[in-house]
Symmetry: C2
Subunit: 470 residues, 2 copies
């Protein structure tokens, strides 16, 4: 009997998982994998669109990506050991490439794994996933967006890889309806050039506020003020950027803050995070979570064991990938995909339900102690190591914990130059080259431009000041 597997979403998680199934086609139980992707191509968030709100089919736009985004972490921390950037581009490239370069690398990796774009049902939006306890199968209802037709299909396993940075968390503020400029969530931010010369208020103190704030600065916003609730990011911001306590009131153009500060703005950007939102999953098999490192109801943050009241267990037939908070990204998604594929194919078997449930509880308890970046990084490195043990993957991918810690330090030393640092490839030991132009002056994010830019190979003479090889 062939096991029928459905993957929801063809982003980095879904595509890597499909690749793992392909790679293991002669091992374990035979499977038949179907991938549904609502966007026009694989890539998840790396597939940029100019659209916001609802798309041409009336579906919520998945994209939270923007033009000119450069990686905010070293590529060496997300590089696949079996397919390096060197393998893909034929030369070493600097550590923080722009989106099109990373997207191109992902596409190369999929090809390397033997995955074709035609293996994915693009423009197919999954509308409903139900579990039938008697039949031990899932009914997946999906809409062909182009034909505007819906149909249902039965599967033995479901892997949800739909991402959790697409449904914005949008709080309100006293008087925000009177604001005279544009109000948007980071999810709808597409292009910093729209805000050149503008006074921008960003609400939030996490990655979105940090990176969108820097983009606005780079593209000539007149002012970038970032408003924090719990605590400021505390970076050494350039003159046109600053942090202030929480916004308390808006009146026309004027914003009032908790510490008495008053300032006029042209735009308010809510960098207030995202919701884990899987409305297409039946309530009893739906992950409800916030952006944390160890998730409820998921063994190894991957396999569903409904332990919360009202959940259905599915006897381990359901998987969620990439749903934790993230330091590790591409490699973690791949490892989760490999793990799920091995479990489904019976190559690796999980402990008793009791032990899995106890392990989930232990993880939730651990969350309480992850109060610093370093503790969070160590916790996720450990998780990577558990995945490696379980899957018997030959390469330690969690070994870049120190790189993340150094990266946090770099950011605190100089938030404008941390992307100009070099990093050492974990597997080859080669240190990435340095761009002759710093990130703050890179106004073109195209692949052609980036690969054509001049850069110097790393040598010791670069260690002072603008390079850093942890």
């Amino acid at each position: 009997m062939v096991i029928r597997v459905c993957i929801v979403g063809a982003g980095p998680s879904g595509m890597a998982t499909l690749g793992m199934f392909k790679k293991m086609k002669d091992q374990g139980e035979p499977v038949e994998v179907t991938v549904y992707e609502k966007q026009n191509a694989p890539g998840g968030l790396w597939n940029l669109t100019w659209r916001t709100g609802l798309d041409e089919y009336g579906e919520p736009v998945h994209c939270s990506m923007y033009r000119d985004l450069f990686s905010n972490g070293p590529k060496e921390a997300l590089e696949f050991p079996e397919y390096t950037f060197m393998d893909h581009f034929g030369k070493e490239i600097p550590s923080c490439p722009p989106r099109p370069v990373l997207y191109d690398y992902l596409k190369g990796y999929w090809k390397f794994l033997g995955v074709e774009e035609s293996d994915v049902h693009i423009k197919h939006s999954v509308k409903n996933v139900k579990y039938d306890e008697a039949r031990k199968t899932f009914t997946v209802s999906v809409k062909n967006l182009v034909k505007s037709e819906e149909y249902s299909q039965e599967f033995d396993r479901v892997i949800v890889a739909a991402g959790h940075f697409s449904t914005p968390h949008v709080p309100t503020f006293n008087g925000i309806e009177t604001f005279d400029g544009r109000v948007l969530h980071a999810h709808d931010f597409r292009n910093a050039r729209e805000f050149t010369g503008k006074r921008c208020l960003l609400i939030g103190a996490s990655y979105s506020a940090e990176d969108i704030g820097l983009q606005l600065y780079k593209f000539g916003a007149a002012q970038v003020t970032m408003s924090w609730r719990t605590k400021p990011m505390g970076f050494a911001w350039p003159d046109a950027m600053k942090e202030v306590p929480l916004l308390t009131k808006v009146s026309s153009k004027t914003c009032y803050f908790k510490n008495g500060h008053v300032e006029d703005f042209d735009a308010i950007i809510l960098c207030t995070g995202y919701q884990h939102n899987f409305p297409f999953m039946a309530p009893e098999i739906r992950l409800q979570a916030t952006n944390i490192f160890n998730l409820p109801n998921l063994y190894r943050n991957t396999q569903w064991y409904g332990t919360s009241p009202g959940t259905n267990d599915t006897d381990g037939r359901l998987f969620y990938l990439g749903m934790t908070d993230q330091f590790y990204t591409y490699t973690m998604f791949m490892m989760q995909g490999l793990w799920a594929a091995q479990v489904i194919k019976g190559i690796h078997s999980v402990p008793s339900r009791e032990k899995c449930v106890a392990n989930i509880a232990k993880g939730l308890k651990e969350n309480e102690f992850l109060t610093t970046y370093n503790k969070q990084i160590d916790n996720q490195a450990e998780f990577m190591e558990r995945l490696r043990e379980d899957t018997k993957h030959p390469v330690c991918l969690g070994g870049c914990a120190d790189m993340f810690k150094g990266w946090e330090q770099d950011k605190h030393e100089d938030i404008l130059t941390y992307r100009d640092k070099t990093h050492k490839n974990l597997f080859t030991g080669i240190v990435s080259p340095v761009l002759t132009k710093p990130w703050v002056k890179l106004m073109d994010d195209s692949l052609e431009n980036y690969l054509g830019l001049e850069y110097v190979e790393y040598t010791e003479k670069h260690t002072n000041g603008h390079t850093n090889s942890h």
Copy 2:
């Protein structure tokens, strides 16, 4: 046996229908009516929010309304005979009031009908409606957005009053992803003040382009260029406004048009209409339509007879309200609600299925001949008359066809002043007063401001130039 009725949506259609059921509580079959509304209050599009895209619950924002919208048609053409503006405000008011005044009037009408806000389940989003042919009932799945809980309920009749101006139709254009300013659909337009001093390109030649264009002009946009596909609106635009043929290419800030025209812009607003989108209805009972005057599968544009392949008939147990293109609005929605309520209560019975289906086909045929505004107006006036005959409603509400025709003429005479004209109340014969300040100078849309503004009662001396009583 009490007939269990579910109304989806508490806009002008849903609320009027609920009111009709209340009014007829001692007539015909007993009913129990449940209304689900996903927004935070009744009002449909008249309930303005600053939000765009997805709301605080991750639901698509229903609102397509914007600040400072004034009625673009005479209030006399949407006035309820049993509850006039005079009844509500205690005085005559001018013909084209702003949104808060109309919303307040609607609320007064609901109160007059005995409908309370507590009769509506607000923040409840209908997720799925299925018809069970054997049981002859509908299963309605609904999500309590505040509790994030889903549940299902059985109903004998369903009335879909969810509107059709909420899911944008969003085409793309060559190079639009390179545009350096904001791109938005009219659905996300909230405030013209954001565009003061900006060069704006609007794509479209219908009500959205016309009204948003005028708003932008009024609030000081540097340029308003409107791009048409089929034909221009052809109004006598002021200097800062113009119409050009269709956009063919975008490159950074520069836009290229079919006639060779080239112009730079800061914002592109897609005024490209809306989709009839009812994803919560099972495909076999889902209305598929464009914005036309006589709809497929709906007898009297209201009662569902699935005649298209793959549709389910429900034996007339399903209703859609307000789904046609519209000259008539509040009064038509009310009449459709009255009609549906009478049919459900058995007060009025419809002809044989065969006759209904033939009538639907006749309507579709008529659409082909509705090539001018006047023909469209007459067709909808006739529809109003059919509803009146069927329901035995005592007042002719279709009698404002001439008012609509004159209004079209007023617009073509002067697009900037047509809202300053007066109109004669159909029932009382009283002519509306004239605001001493013309619409183009009314920058505050608040109820308090509008009701406090000075205006002069209509007398013959106003007929020359700035008044008009058709």
